[in-house]
Structure formats: C-alpha cells, structure tokens
Symmetry: C2
Subunit: 234 residues, 2 copies
C-alpha cells in the first residue's frame, strides 16, 4: 500500500543547486523563496487567515534525491561526516520517503499576474522544490520549550569570516538592485561553511562554486576566512 | 505528477475512533501511542541516536479521511465552528494532501518479539495511522520562540471539570492495571471538550461515547461539568 500526493505548488528559491543550501531552515535568515500555489490549489480562500501567522510549515519533496536508495544510517555534517547515525535520527534528505518539513517566516501573501504566492524567509529549499502542504506554525503546539536535541541541540557556530574581493564587491553591489540583501545572504551562507563535511586541513587553492539567483558564486577558503572571489553572470 | 510514499510503520494508539482525539498533539500528555516500524524499515540502525532526542516529529497520513474531497476553507473548532478560514491556515485533516505532522515526546525505543517500536506520549493519532516518516525534533530549528500564531496562538483553555460516576470510578480502577494512567487520560481528554464545535447551550441528556483502548467510554455534559458515566468492555 502506498499513498500518492499531488504537489499543491512549487518553490522558487535563490538556491539553484544543492551545494550551498543551508543545512536547516532558519540558519540563513536572508534566504528568500516564493511558494507559488498551482491550480486548482491557488485559490485566495485557501490561504485566508494564514497572514495572521508569523511562520508557516512547508512540507515538501526532496526532489533532487528522488529515486536514491535509502540506507538505514547516514553521516550528518554536524558530527563531522564520519559518524553514522540512524536515518530517522536525522533530517537528511536521503530517507525512505524523501519528505522534508521546514518552518519559515511568512513575509507576505500576494496575487500577481494571476498567480498566488507566499513569500517566505529563512528557507533551505532548492529551486523547483515541489510542495505538498503548507500549514500554520502553531506556537503552543510546535514550539516545545523543554525539548532536548542530542547532538543537534544548539545551532552550529559559524567560525568563518567572509570577505569580498574587489571584483566580487562591485558585482555584489550591482546585484543588490535585482536581489536586495544578496550580500548579506552570501555572508550568512558562506559563514556556515556549506562544504559537505568539515575538514581540518583546507586546501586554500580550491575554488568552490554554486549557483545563486541568476549568477555563479565562487569562493575559496583559507584558515577561518572565506574569500568571495566573483559573481559571474553566465 | 504525483509522488508515492510507502508507510514505514503503523501507529497503535489508545484512540480507536476519531471522536475524542485531541485537536492538537501535546494537549493530552497522557495519551500513549506505539509506532511500530514495519519491514524493511524496522532496523535497529535506522533509529540509532534517536534516543538522544526528547521529542520526535511523526509525519503521517490522515487515513480516516482519505478520499474525502478537499475544500478551500474549513471551520476550525477554535473559532467556534462557524467561521471559515483557508485550509492552509489550519491543521485540519481535510486538506489537499492528507498529511499530518505531530511533535510528541519519545519515551523509549524497544525491540520486543522481533518488532521495533517507538513509545511516544502526547500524540493525537487515530489507531492504525500509517506513518511515512519519523524525524528528530531539533530545538534550535523547530522551536521558534518569537513565532506568532493568530487565532491559534495559545493553548485552548479547558473549562470543563471531569468527575466519574461510581460505576465509572470502579471500572477505571480495574482498567488501570492494563492501561496505566487511563484515568488521567480520560480527564485530560474530556476536559478539552472533544465535541466538534463548542455550543453555548448543551443538551444535558445527550450521552456521548467513543472507543478508548479496549472499552467504550460514555459521558454526558451538564454546564461546565463532564460526568463520566461508564467504561464498557464489549
């Protein structure tokens, strides 16, 4: 017996590739995404009253890993990438049913050009993510003050300082017009060190890159310093 | 395009009927449930490390309403059952994809008679609920201290006092052996007034009933007093 779910919408996100996406929602508060509800779910009545909630749950499909075989254990980045824990003890996308849930700040709900969209902040969504549900974040139910979280109890510290090369600085200023807050987004994202697992020894000649909005972001790491090298529009 | 999810387990719950189930998790902390993982997901490694978390998210299917047509608005009990709000602004089970998520306290993980089970408290699950995912509750991500929740910001007050008839009192004591804490469970459940929507005028002759564990529970309401009439084993 299996259950079939139809997407109610799709996420337009600043994150165009998996690499660089924050490992949890809320870690990169400047990350912006738009949840576009798709027909027949794009009705104004269906979101009536949602504007009264500061945060919403987005239940989505990890579509980039669909079809990947699940394994009973995974290696969470928080444990350095070496220790294996049970898949049900992590929020890894590689799970029997690749369903994710993230609580994000609801900025506004807009109908534009006939489309009904929820603007959210702080998400960890890959662009194009299919959404299967949106629910209000209900504080007295969802915010469990006395919950204890084992190895994932506290937010990871971000020991990396981010600085921009002269070229990247200019390019970033130009992008601010189209993508307000993009500099801060890059800072938040890179200070969290998006590499798959922390490595003690870093190869300072390695250049990392990912796609953000409409450009390619490139950076390198030396010691605890991230240098943003360039923002390249293809 | 739709996505198919296979249950990873099934919930054995004290709540055998929809009527009487708490409207949110956490409102009836004495409610107990056992999540039995089913093959091939019932592997010890798959839950390794989960015991370090005090709470878990259970992502499940509202199987009792499968096939029901979704409507863009619903009438939440919290608003007296008269006001309509958008389905995505509520946690109602009647939604386009009948997926629920509840954070519950993880009491213990046990393997017994070859079965791997998670014992949880505070759930709002109907017996037989199919589970599609279990995830750790990660406090720094999930407990949003500054979230605001509109009409569902605070826990509902429970103005109903619960008392037991002499017969119900004796029956309850007998049930305590098989179901420890059953009296407290009944008190928590009925003080929250499980009737579909609050009514100002109550018919004090009406007898309500639902199935709990292996017995039928019957009660009536007079003013702000709930009287437990009987616990009947069929």
């Amino acid at each position: 017996m299996s259950y079939a779910f139809e997407p109610i919408g799709v996420i337009h996100s600043c994150f165009k590739e998996k690499f660089g996406i924050p490992r949890q929602p809320g870690l990169v508060p400047s990350a912006r995404a738009v949840i576009e509800l798709t027909p027949p779910f794009d009705r104004d009545e269906a979101v009536r009253g949602l504007e009264g909630f500061s945060h919403v749950w987005v239940v989505f499909v990890f579509h980039a890993v669909l079809g990947a075989a699940w394994r009973p254990t995974v290696r969470p980045p928080r444990l350095g990438g070496n220790e294996r824990v049970g898949v049900f003890a992590t929020r890894s996308p590689f799970r029997p049913n690749p369903v994710g849930m993230s609580a994000v700040r609801l900025e506004k709900i807009l109908r534009e050009d006939g489309r009904l969209s929820l603007y959210v902040q702080g998400g960890d969504f890959l662009d194009g993510t299919p959404v299967i549900d949106v629910k209000p974040y209900v504080p007295y139910v969802d915010a469990i003050a006395d919950a204890r979280g084992s190895f994932a109890h506290e937010a990871p510290v971000s020991p990396f300082l981010v600085r921009f090369s002269a070229d990247a600085d200019v390019a970033c200023q130009q992008k601010e017009g189209s993508f307000p807050g993009v500099r801060r987004l890059i800072e938040e994202m890179l200070s969290a060190d998006p590499r798959p697992a922390y490595r003690d020894t870093t190869d300072s000649t390695a250049v990392y890159g990912t796609r953000l909005y409409d450009f390619d972001l490139r950076w390198r790491i030396e010691g605890n310093m991230v240098e943003v090298l360039e923002l390249v529009s293809p």
